[in-house]
């Protein structure tokens, strides 16, 4: 059984576009995926595709409009009281900006001991040892009494990771955890995440726009566009032979340090507003391979050669 399972998940927001008019913003519009134990599942896509909304839904920080999220077979939307608290202990998050996600007035010890106290994981006497141990596990020394401003971005991200690890979660949702960091520091954190995965058996939902990192770290990848998953597959397959034209363009747009002299396919225009999603396939206005049915029929995510893709090109019936 999958550890975490998402079915037909939707999140629609109502936004006001003028004082008297409201519109529906479909941030997440019917997605399915599942995460197995000790795996890294990556969600990739450009700004506004809904990937961070998925992160917040998975943590139950916001309630979905429709669909379900099952953790160990149980729908988390129905959880209350003790069961909800247990779920919160099992799934933790790391945010993008380590400068904004640590309370500037709490010492490292305060920040890391709080989750331990809330979940009753350590007695007063053990707190200090347990926090030191956590800091050690993320490669920080004896910094218990320091405040966040005393640390660099990379060190702060280590503290955030230690805080997530404090409750020994089974799943960590990492929302762009490397984007605010310099390349050499990114590599340090990336090594740390991989080491944690090996050592503790944690699973990750890894949200990123950086395809190089995703290719290196993840086992499975889902590509999102305007609130929908357009392609899911094993990382090697997706990077080896993308099936969806959008994936193809994403992969070739990323600047590479390998000189292969390839010509980039031109991607016209910008991502349309999620308030006004194009008819048919949401990607059709920008697609270089669109044909007749694309602007009429919404392509479903369907099986294709053991992988999943939402594109009419891969549908033998059309």
């Amino acid at each position: 059984m999958a550890l975490l399972e998402v079915k037909a998940l939707k999140k629609h927001f109502t936004v006001s576009i003028s004082p008297m008019r409201h519109a529906t913003l479909k941030a997440v519009d019917g997605i399915d995926f599942s995460l197995d134990k000790n795996r890294v599942f990556a969600l990739v896509g450009e700004s506004g595709c809904g990937k961070s909304t998925v992160a917040r839904l998975l943590l139950r920080l916001i309630a979905p409009t429709a669909g379900e999220i099952r953790f160990r077979g149980e729908n988390i939307l129905g959880l209350k009281g003790g069961a909800l608290k247990a779920f919160r202990k099992s799934v933790q998050i790391i945010f993008q900006d380590p400068f904004a996600s640590l309370n500037p007035r709490m010492t490292v010890f305060d920040a890391l001991s709080e989750p331990l106290k809330i979940h009753g994981l350590a007695g007063r006497a053990e707190l200090k040892d347990r926090v030191s141990e956590l800091l050690q596990s993320v490669g920080l020394g004896d910094v218990l009494d320091s405040y966040p401003h005393e640390f660099s971005g990379g060190q702060r991200q280590r503290i955030c990771i230690a805080r997530a690890l404090a409750v020994s979660p089974e799943v960590i949702v990492a929302d762009e955890p490397l984007s605010a960091l310099d390349v050499s520091i990114q590599a340090q954190i990336l090594n740390l995440l991989l080491e944690l995965k090996e050592r503790t058996g944690i699973s990750f939902v890894f949200i990123s726009h950086d395809l190089r990192v995703v290719e290196y770290l993840s086992d499975e990848v889902a590509v999102m566009y305007l609130g929908k998953i357009v392609e899911v597959s094993k990382t090697e397959d997706l990077f080896g032979s993308p099936l969806h034209p959008y994936t193809e363009i994403l992969l070739s747009s990323a600047p590479s340090i390998k000189a292969d002299g390839r010509k980039k396919p031109e991607l016209k225009g910008e991502v349309p507003s999620p308030i006004n999603i194009p008819s048919g396939c949401p990607f059709h206005p920008r697609c270089h391979r669109r044909f007749e049915p694309c602007e009429r029929v919404v392509p479903e995510l369907r099986q294709y050669k053991g992988r999943q893709v939402a594109c009419h090109l891969r549908n033998p019936a059309i």
Binding site: L190, E215, E236, I249
Partner: protein
């Protein structure tokens, strides 16, 4: 002949004797993209600001910045104002904070023209439209009447570029022009910059932290660490035979093949004033020898056109 030449540029605080940029020299030739690479705090943006003459008040400069043989650092504020925007244009990283939120973008672009040339309102308007077309803004007639908040990040960056090239400058400084953008928009903006450079014979100083962008766009490249150039070469040089441990560290930090462990640079960049003696990278360098901390090594030529600030540069070679 070189268009822009930096000779021994140094930038330091007025209040303390701490150099944040030290002994920086490079040349930018006509119709060429020169890439300046480094991590946050290495001084690459300060270098750009000092060329434009818009450094914050608490910094002072030393050395020479020659534009066609004229030292910009010795010019007065009025003379510099003539050069800024007219001879050197600049595109900043964050287009939202660099555009005025209460003025229409058309007005802001026209202002770039009217502040340097005596033109009628009508001429300025036409030039603005022409510029918006040049940066391939969709429906320019409508967009020129809009405010920055009505546009996407990519469109705002197009407006910034239109302003920067309004007076056909000889030099364009692009400071992380695509860092705030998505990859597909990034590719569009870089292609646009390349096209403009070729058609206008502009020289571009491209400042970035992304080595992929450098490889695909620059002709010459310089790597900065702690305010110093540590390596400088034609672009292929650093990707086929890097000669400085810091450059090698950057390359080995990039995620490559799955299952192959990354070799990050240990530690983090020290604050200016806290740098080690001798070679400034020595405290993080895995090739460090005691001699490294004696005197600061000079930037010296290792092979034709390829410079490194490492006393062991001859032994260094990545990928080996």
């Amino acid at each position: 002949m070189s268009l822009l030449e930096l000779k021994g540029l140094s930038i330091s605080f007025r209040t303390r004797p701490v150099e944040v940029v030290s002994d920086l020299s490079f040349q930018l030739n006509e119709g060429e993209v020169f890439g300046l690479v480094g991590e946050s705090g290495c001084g690459k943006s300060l270098t750009a600001l000092s060329i434009m003459g818009i450094l914050p008040q608490n910094f002072k400069t030393g050395g020479v910045v020659n534009l066609r043989g004229r030292n910009l650092l010795s010019l007065g504020p009025e003379e510099m104002r003539d050069i800024r925007g007219r001879e050197i244009g600049m595109v900043f990283q964050e287009p939202m904070t660099s555009l005025n939120p209460v003025l229409r973008v058309g007005y802001q672009i026209a202002e770039a023209v009217t502040s340097h040339f005596r033109v009628s309102k009508e001429e300025a308007r036409e030039r603005t439209l022409e510029l918006l077309k040049a940066v391939r803004m969709p429906s320019p007639h409508v967009r020129m009447k809009e405010y920055p908040h009505q546009m996407s990040g990519g469109m705002r960056q197009r407006v910034m570029i239109a302003m920067a090239i309004a007076c056909n400058p000889a030099v364009l400084i692009a400071d992380e022009p695509t860092t705030a953008l998505d990859v597909t928009i990034e590719a569009q903006i870089l292609e646009l910059l390349n096209g403009l450079m070729e058609s206008g014979n502009m020289a571009v100083l491209l400042i970035t932290h992304d080595l992929g962008i450098i490889r695909e766009n620059a002709k010459q490249v310089a790597i900065m660490y702690a305010g110093r150039l540590v390596e400088k070469s034609p672009v292929e040089g650093i990707f086929t035979a890097a000669r400085h441990p810091y450059t090698i560290g950057l390359m080995e930090s990039l995620p490559g093949q799955r299952g192959v462990a990354l070799k990050p640079i240990p530690g983090s960049v020290p604050k200016p004033g806290m740098l080690p003696p001798g070679c400034k990278f020595s405290d993080r360098c895995r090739f460090m020898k005691p001699e490294c901390q004696a005197d600061e090594p000079p930037l010296r030529q290792v092979t034709e056109g390829h410079f490194s600030r490492c006393i062991r540069a001859e032994e260094m070679r990545w990928p080996s």
